[in-house]
């Protein structure tokens, strides 16, 4: 089992964390003006990247904080973690 480095608690076992899907999905500026299709895109549609992917994770068995991580979806390797208020990490 691999360790995931919580930005606050440090390296912990993977089972302490839960997955929160793609990171940096912006809430629509004017949700009321979206068509049903645009709203569905915001709610349901996510990238399905092969390779480095910016994701949200939660340290659910520890400090219970959300953070972001760059993970390679092909190898499951975590490249880096960063806090929610850090700028978006550059991904290819």
């Amino acid at each position: 089992m691999q360790l995931i480095a919580c930005p606050w608690c440090g390296p912990r076992e993977e089972v302490e964390f839960s997955y929160g899907g793609q990171a940096h999905v912006p809430y629509p500026d004017s949700p009321a003006e979206l068509s049903d299709e645009q709203w569905a895109h915001y709610v349901f549609h996510r990238d399905n990247t092969r390779g480095r992917f910016a994701e949200r994770w939660n340290h659910s068995a520890g400090c219970r904080r959300w953070f972001n991580a760059i993970r390679d979806t092909a190898t499951y390797r975590f490249e880096r973690v960063y806090r929610l208020d850090d700028p978006k990490s550059v991904t290819p």
């Binding site: 606050w8 608690c9 302490e16 068995a61 520890g62 400090c63 904080r65």
Partner: protein, 194 residues
């Protein structure tokens, strides 16, 4: 009408704990008042009002009067007090942090404490806890929210020798964890000759 008595969730385990050897002593800690504090910014104002410098380093705890202040997150702490009633502690802490935009919530009924002491404590905990508990990195003042035997716990290092640890566990998991600890301690228990 039957009288409802307040009993400790681990009362039924007392005798089993007492049979443990000196290398792994387990005892239920007495009830203490506990308050969950949320506070965005910790400054001198908060320290003065609370009477304790809330620890800002992750995975640490500090004594707070007769109780403890445990880091739970970048804006969250657990304050305990063995001398105040839960509503007293909650009222005092709330009054101290509410003006700073913080909050205080009585969580005394959420967790109970177990005290593990003895030379084999680290071996017992290592049966079901993946974090490094070596005194080099988990000396007195260290804490960890993690899992022990798959139950969510808060571990507090009470000594620099790694032989004195407090385990805070949710009351409803206390019986399960007590059974798990007794099982993990079994190999250090000497069986009388038959």
């Amino acid at each position: 009408m039957a009288e409802l008595l307040r009993t400790h969730p681990l009362e039924a385990w007392t005798a089993a704990f007492e049979r443990l050897p000196d290398t792994v002593r387990i005892a239920a800690e007495p009830y203490v008042a506990m308050v969950d504090v949320r506070l965005g910014t910790v400054g001198p104002g908060a320290s003065t009002a609370l009477g304790v410098d809330l620890p800002t380093a992750p995975n640490t705890w500090v004594p707070a009067g007769a109780g403890r202040a445990v880091w739970l997150g970048p804006d969250e702490w657990l304050l305990t007090s063995p001398t105040e009633a839960p509503e007293e502690l909650e009222g005092r802490v709330r009054a101290a942090v509410v003006g700073l935009g913080g909050s205080a919530t009585d969580v005394s009924a959420q967790r109970i404490g177990l005290r593990l002491a003895g030379a084999r404590v680290r071996d017992v905990l290592a049966r079901g806890c993946s974090i490094d508990l070596h005194p080099r990195v988990f000396g007195r003042g260290s804490s960890a929210q993690t899992t022990l035997g798959q139950a969510g716990v808060v571990l507090l290092a009470l000594s620099d020798a790694g032989d004195d640890v407090a385990v805070l566990v949710r009351s409803s998991f206390a019986g399960y964890l007590a059974d798990w600890l007794l099982d993990a301690a079994l190999e250090f228990t000497t069986t009388p000759d038959r």
